[in-house]
Subunit: 420 residues, 2 copies
C-alpha cells in the first residue's frame, strides 16, 4: 500500500498514449501503433479521470485517481490511494463474482491508475433508467452479486482470520470512508456548506427534516452500524451509477469506497437508487409516455433484487457455510439441529432486510438534500416538477427510517410506495 | 509488531536475574545487586510465565509469554506475540483508566516480556471470592473501568479513523481471538476432545445442552457478534482472575486477549464470573459459614457493577461525546434534539445490557463444560456437591441465553438467581 501520495503525473491524452504504448500486452490488444489510437476522457463521476482508448483491434478503459475530489476541485484534496483499494476490492471479490466485474488488465500503484476492460455497448444503468429503458436481468444480477461478494467475504464462509486480514487492509481506505460518514450519515441532517437542495421549493421540507429528532437518531444509528458492524467486504457505493448494463449483461464498477461493513449498506444503495428512479419518473414524462409503465417495472425490480439476493445468499450458505460465524459444526445433531441452524440463517437474512431499508432511506435523503445529487432528479429541468418528485421521495425515506416496523417484507415497501 | 517468533530464550530465575540486572532503572528500583534478589515463578494462568523479583528496596512482576499454551503444554503451540498486544492494550487504555492497570516499567518485544508494577498486597479477586472475602469497591471499580476503556476507544469518543487504526492493529491478535472463538462460542456446545465436565454427574445435563438447538443458536449468534461488532477495544478476558484487589484498590491485569469487539463481551465476562462465584458458594460452606451472606453480597456486586458501568458510560458520553458515531453535531437544534440524542444514548447502553447477559451466559457455560474451568468450582473437592453447584449455574446460563426477554434490567437477573 503506498503512502499518501506526493506529486504524480496526471494523465492527459498524450501522456496516456505514451504510457500505454509501454504496456506490451495492452498495446498488442489495441493493435497498430499508439499514434493510431483514439483517446477520449469521459469521466463524469465525482472523483476520477476516465479515458477510453480505442485501437483498430480493441479498446480499453483507463481510470486514474485524482488527488482531489473532481466534483469539488483541488480545494477538496483526496488521497489518490483509493485506487489501491479499488484494485484490492476487485481482487478480493473476483473469485466469487465471475464476470460481473470488469477484467483488470493492469494496475499501477505509483500512478493510481487501472487499465481495464472497456465495457461496450454497456451504458450506466442510471442513464438507462432516466431514458425509460428496461434491463430484464439487472436487478437479479446485482442482487446475486451482493449475495456472492457479501457471503464469501463474511465470517459465514471462511475462517475469521481471513476476514480480519481484510478488515486490517481496508481500514486504510479511511479517506473514502470519511466521505461516506460525513456525506451520507451526518451532513444531510444538519446545516452544512456542502449541502444543497432545490430551493426555495424544498426549504420548508428540509428545515423540518433537520428538526426531526427521531429521524436523525435513526439515521445516526445507521451511521454507527456502518462504522462498527464488519459483516463483509462492501462495494461501498453500489448505486445505479456503479452498474453498467446492456439488455443481456450487468457489470459492477467503481468500488473505490470499498470497506468492511454491514451488507445492508450495499443492498440499501441499490434499492435507494431504484426508489429515487421511481420517484423521478414523472419528471421525465412526455406526452407519449407518462412513465407509469416504467414505474411499475421499477417496483418489480425492487422485489426481484431483494428476492434474488435473499435466495442466493441462503443457497450459498447452505452449500459453503464453513466459516466461524454460526459454525455448522455446532449443529450436527440431526434434524432438530439442522432446523435450528436454518432458522438462525433466515433470521440473519431478515436482519439484512431491515438494514437495507434503513441504509437505503439514508441514501435517498443524502441524494436530495446533501452534497452529491443524482441525475435522475438533476435532469428534470423544471424546478417545481423536480421539487415535487424530490419531496415525495424524501417523505417516503423518512417513513422508512422512522417506522421500520411497518416494513418487514419487500411487499410492505412496494405497497407503501405511492402509486402514480 | 514482530513476526511469529522463532526461538527466543525462555527465562528461568538465573537468566531473568541477569537480564533485569541490565535494565538500569529497574535494577535501581530493586536495590542492592542482582545476587541479592529473590526470584519466584508464580504463574498459575493458562499461558505465561510470571515471576516476582524482590530486592531490598522494591519488587517488580515479570511476565513472559510462552510459545505454547501453558495449560496444555508444547503440543498446543501459541505464538508469543500476544505479549505485544497485551502491551498495546495497556498503552491504548492507559490515558483513560488511570491507576486501574499496573504501571509498565519495561517491555521487550524480542523476549515477549513485560516488567511491571508488582501489585502487593493484592490478591486475585477470584481467590478472595472463594475464601469468602469481600471487596467493597471492586464491582464499582471494574464497572467504571469498562466504561472508561470502552467509551474512549469507541466511535462515540473519537474520529473513526483512530478506531480503524486500532482495529487494524489488534486484528493481528488472531491466535488469541481464535481461542475465544473456539473455546467460548463453539467447543462447549459440541463434542470436542478439549472439553471436560464433572462426570458422570453432569453427563446427562451436558448431553441435553448440546442438543438444545435454540440455545446453540443464541450462543452462536453471540459468537457472530463477537467477530463482527467492533464497538471498542476489549480487554477480552475480564473474569475475576484478571482482577487483583485489596480492600481499597482494584487493578485489571492480563489483557492479552485484547481485540476490538462488543463492549458487552467484557461486561459479560465479569458478571458471568460473579454468577459462577455465587453458584459455587455452597461448595465452600463450612459449619461456621453457610456462605449465604457472601451470596447476598455477590448479588449486590452484580447490581453495583452494572449500575456503575451504566452511569459512568453515560456521564463520559455527555462530557466527551465528540466521536463520529451518533455525532452530537447532528443534534444541536435545542431541547427536542438533546432529548432525542439522550434517548439514543440510553437505548445504546440498554443494548449493552442485553449483550452482557448473552455473552455472560456463554462464558458461564464454557467454564463448566469446556476446556478451561474456574477455581470457584474446581476447588470443591466433593464431586457430587460440585456437580450440583455447576448444574444450577448451567441451568441459569441456559435461561439467560434462551429467554433474553425475561432479562431487561439488572433486577430481573437478581430476581431470577435462585435464592439459597
Amino acid at each position: 500500500m503506498p503512502d499518501p501520495a506526493p506529486a504524480y503525473p496526471i494523465f492527459d491524452a498524450d501522456s496516456l498514449r505514451a504510457w500505454i504504448g509501454g504496456l506490451s500486452p495492452v498495446r498488442a490488444s489495441l493493435g497498430s501503433t499508439p499514434g493510431d489510437w483514439r483517446i477520449r476522457e469521459v469521466g463524469d463521476g465525482n472523483l476520477n479521470l476516465v479515458f477510453i482508448v480505442e485501437g483498430p483491434q480493441g479498446s480499453v478503459c483507463v481510470k486514474q485517481a485524482l488527488p482531489y475530489v473532481r466534483a469539488a476541485g483541488p480545494s477538496w484534496p483526496m488521497a489518490p490511494r483509493r485506487a489501491f483499494f479499488e484494485n484490492a476490492y476487485y481482487k478480493a471479490v473476483a473469485p466469487h463474482v465471475g464476470a460481473r466485474i470488469p477484467r483488470i488488465h493492469h494496475y499501477d500503484d505509483a500512478l493510481y491508475c487501472t487499465v481495464m476492460e472497456r465495457l461496450s455497448p454497456h451504458i450506466i444503468l442510471r442513464q438507462g433508467l432516466i431514458e425509460g429503458r428496461r434491463y430484464p436481468d439487472a436487478a437479479r444480477d446485482v442482487g446475486e452479486y451482493v449475495a456472492h461478494a457479501g457471503f464469501f467475504t463474511s465470517d459465514f464462509a471462511r475462517p475469521f482470520e481471513e476476514k480480519l486480514a481484510g478488515v486490517a487492509l481496508f481500514a486504510g481506505n479511511k479517506d473514502l470512508i470519511r466521505i461516506s460518514v460525513d456525506l451520507i450519515f451526518t451532513d444531510p441532517f444538519r446545516e452544512s456548506v456542502r449541502n444543497r437542495h432545490t430551493s426555495p421549493q424544498l426549504d420548508a421540507v428540509v428545515r423540518d427534516l433537520r428538526r426531526d429528532g427521531p429521524l436523525k437518531v435513526a439515521a445516526a444509528d445507521c451511521g454507527r452500524r456502518f462504522l462498527t458492524d464488519a459483516q463483509a467486504l462492501l462495494h461501498g457505493d453500489l448505486h445505479s451509477g456503479s452498474v453498467m448494463v446492456t439488455e443481456r449483461d450487468t457489470r459492477v464498477i467503481d468500488p473505490e469506497f470499498a470497506c468492511y461493513g454491514p451488507i445492508g449498506f450495499d443492498l440499501g444503495a441499490y434499492v435507494a437508487n431504484l426508489l429515487l428512479s421511481w420517484y423521478s419518473q414523472p419528471g421525465h414524462a412526455t406526452p407519449a409516455d407518462d412513465r407509469s409503465a416504467q414505474q411499475r417495472w421499477i417496483l418489480t425490480e425492487i422485489e426481484t433484487f431483494w428476492e434474488a439476493f435473499r435466495a442466493r445468499f441462503l443457497a450459498l450458505w447452505a452449500a459453503h457455510g464453513r466459516g466461524d460465524a454460526l459454525p455448522a459444526a455446532m449443529f450436527e445433531g440431526g434434524e432438530a439441529d439442522a432446523a435450528a441452524l436454518q432458522a438462525a440463517r433466515v433470521a440473519f437474512v431478515e436482519s439484512l432486510f431491515a438494514d437495507m431499508i434503513g441504509f437505503g432511506a439514508c441514501k435517498m435523503i443524502r441524494r436530495i438534500v446533501g452534497f452529491a445529487h443524482v441525475a435522475d432528479f438533476e435532469r428534470i429541468a423544471d424546478a417545481d416538477i423536480r421539487a415535487r418528485c424530490e419531496a415525495r421521495a424524501l417523505a417516503f425515506a423518512r417513513l422508512l427510517l422512522t417506522h421500520p416496523r411497518q416494513f418487514r417484507a419487500i411487499g410492505d415497501v412496494l405497497d407503501a410506495v405511492p402509486r402514480a
